[in-house]
Symmetry: C3
Subunit: 152 residues, 3 copies
């Protein structure tokens, strides 16, 4: 299925990409690779705050990670000149989870994002990944993800 | 010395690579680069748990980091089509160390992995590296390492 | 303006690059990309210690991040054969900020480094970036930054 149709089937509408309010950019392309800046989880346009193992559950974290993945898709679409079909491969995710010292399910939280990339891209969406617990994230966000992809 | 012989001299037997139980893969190749997923420390097949500066010493951490490096070698061998001689360069390690707030020897822990790559690959094993303290790691592991390498 | 003149206008003198005292190297080049090791903040030649939200303010962290960026520039110059004009693009920064659990301004700390790259390189300095809170950093440093750049 075309990625456009896949997104529609998943009832996903990609948001507008807001440029960062600082001296960095949402993505940089170099050769066939594109490096996306860390995107923090947002809900209703505001940072999705909280800490796993504290005031948020693993299921909350998975929903937040999926929301980040949707925002990453929007940035990736921009990086690919408006056409996600030009994404040859999702290469790697770095998944940062704001974690209480007792929380050890960062990998399950990360699955919320990983699953979406596979749902949208199929085999091209299968990626390498690291997930870990951060002491804290910008603006108190619960999840932040950066991504490397290969463009055709 | 051939890498196969170097491994034998170090009494290292590479393990089977178990596929992750989720929507991601142990490695992705893109051009000459291969990105390996974060591998957590394991002992006797189970996560090597604990926190540096808490219930584990720097020497424990170094042993755990070396164990991760062995697992990364096994994945790298798979990525290189079964032949580690095709590894042109170990490019970069990201070494995450589960750390109590008072523990500041993440770089010494990381040396447990770095030294192994140099022992096995010689000059091709000299890599760029970052090491830092994570609030917590998946499954309570004490060390997690991701790796980028260049294949010939 | 030439980068050499830009550095002079900013009153920046690049330091000597000290080789790491371990089995890793300050940078690795692979194809057009160069990966720089994580550099920790230093002041007067010693680790710039402390934790944001604890004994250091956001302004302190920004100054420390800028100091790291200067050290990264010195390593980048070495990687570029002594000539920073050969840097085609600053691709990505990973900015680790030693953070108390309550500190949520890692992105503002990171701006201390990001701004310098834009000041020095102009459009070529605009980069992708992730910033997050680490539980602790090597030698108790307050900030650590790793960098990927593209060389011409």
């Amino acid at each position: 299925m075309a990625i456009r149709d896949q997104l529609a089937a998943l009832h996903i509408t990609l948001p507008e990409v807001a440029p960062p309010a600082a001296a960095f950019v949402p993505f940089v392309r170099t050769g066939a690779l594109v490096f996306l800046s860390g995107h923090i989880a947002r809900r209703d346009g505001k940072p999705w705050t909280g800490r796993l193992g504290d005031d948020l559950t693993t299921a909350d974290g998975q929903a937040a990670a999926r929301a980040v993945a949707v925002d990453l898709l929007a940035t990736l679409q921009l990086a690919a000149g408006g056409d996600l079909e030009r994404v040859a491969r999702i290469v790697k995710l770095l998944v940062l989870v704001s974690s209480a010292p007792s929380f050890t399910e960062q990998h399950l939280v990360a699955n919320g994002a990983s699953q979406l990339f596979v749902d949208v891209f199929g085999e091209r969406g299968a990626h390498a990944r690291s997930a870990f617990g951060a002491a804290q994230l910008p603006l108190g966000a619960c999840v932040e993800i950066e991504l490397v992809a290969e463009l055709a």
